[in-house]
Amino acid sequence: DQQVKQNSPSLSVQEGRISILNCDYTNSMFDYFLWYKKYPAEGPTFLISISSIKDKNEDGRFTVFLNKSAKHLSLHIVPSQPGDSAVYFCAASKHGNKLVFGAGTILRVKS
C-alpha cells in the first residue's frame, strides 16, 4: 500500500521559471510532511517541512503548500536554477519518526 505517491516520475523546467513538484498521500493521520533533494550517489538533503496545522511554509526560493482536504502537498521552486536538477522526494510521518517516502520525481532545469 503506497501511502505517499509522487505520480510524476520526471519534470523538465526552463531556468528562471517555476518548478512545481506534487505529492499525494492517503493516510489522514499524517501530521508532518517533508521534502528532500537528492543528487546521484549522495544522501538526500532535507529541504523544507510543514506541519499539518499549517497550509504554507516558505524558505527562500522554496515554498511548500499543504491541502489537507485533498491530501495533497506541493513544492514550488522559484526561480528554478540548473543546480536544482536532482531527484525530489516527499515524505510524511504521524506522531514522530518512521518517515514514509514517495518514489521521487526527477527535476531537470534547462539553461
Binding site: D31, A41, E42, F46, S93, N97, A103
Partner: protein, 113 residues
C-alpha cells in the same frame, strides 16, 4: 553541529560473503537511527530503525540485520550476501520528538557479484 558518517563509500562483494556497514553520528545524543535502501531507480525503503542502544525494529523480512552497540553507532550486517542485496544504503538520524526531521549520511553503494 551534527554530522553523520558512513563507510565504506563503495563496496563490491561476492555472493555469499559477509557484510558490515557502519554509521556514526556526531554532535547529538540519544538520536533515533535508521537504515534505508534505495534500489536502482526506486524510492527509499526503510530497513531498520532504532530508538536506543540495543533496540532494533525491522521493517521488512530480509537477509540483513542491524545492531546499535553504542548510542551513536548503527551497523548493518549480513552473514551471506545475495545478488538482490545490491543497492545504495543510507543511514539517517533524527532527534526524538513528535515531528522528527531525519538527516541522511552520504550513503554506501554496494554491488554484489
Amino acid at each position: 553541529s551534527q554530522t553523520i558518517h558512513q563507510w565504506p563509500a563503495t563496496l563490491v562483494q561476492p555472493v555469499g560473503s559477509p557484510l558490515s556497514l557502519e554509521c556514526t553520528v556526531e554532535g547529538t545524543s540519544n538520536p533515533n537511527l535508521y537504515w534505508y535502501r534505495q534500489a536502482a531507480g526506486r524510492g527509499l525503503q526503510l530497513l531498520f530503525y532504532s530508538v536506543g542502544i540495543g533496540q532494533i525494529s525491522s521493517e521488512v523480512p530480509q537477509n540483513l540485520s542491524a545492531s546499535r552497540p553504542q548510542d551513536r553507532q548503527f551497523i548493518l550486517s549480513s552473514k551471506k550476501l545475495l545478488l538482490s542485496d545490491s543497492g545504495f544504503y543510507l543511514c539517517a538520524w533524527g532527534p526524538k520528538g513528535p515531528q522528527e526531521t531525519q538527516y541522511f549520511g552520504p550513503g554506501t553503494r554496494l554491488l554484489v557479484l
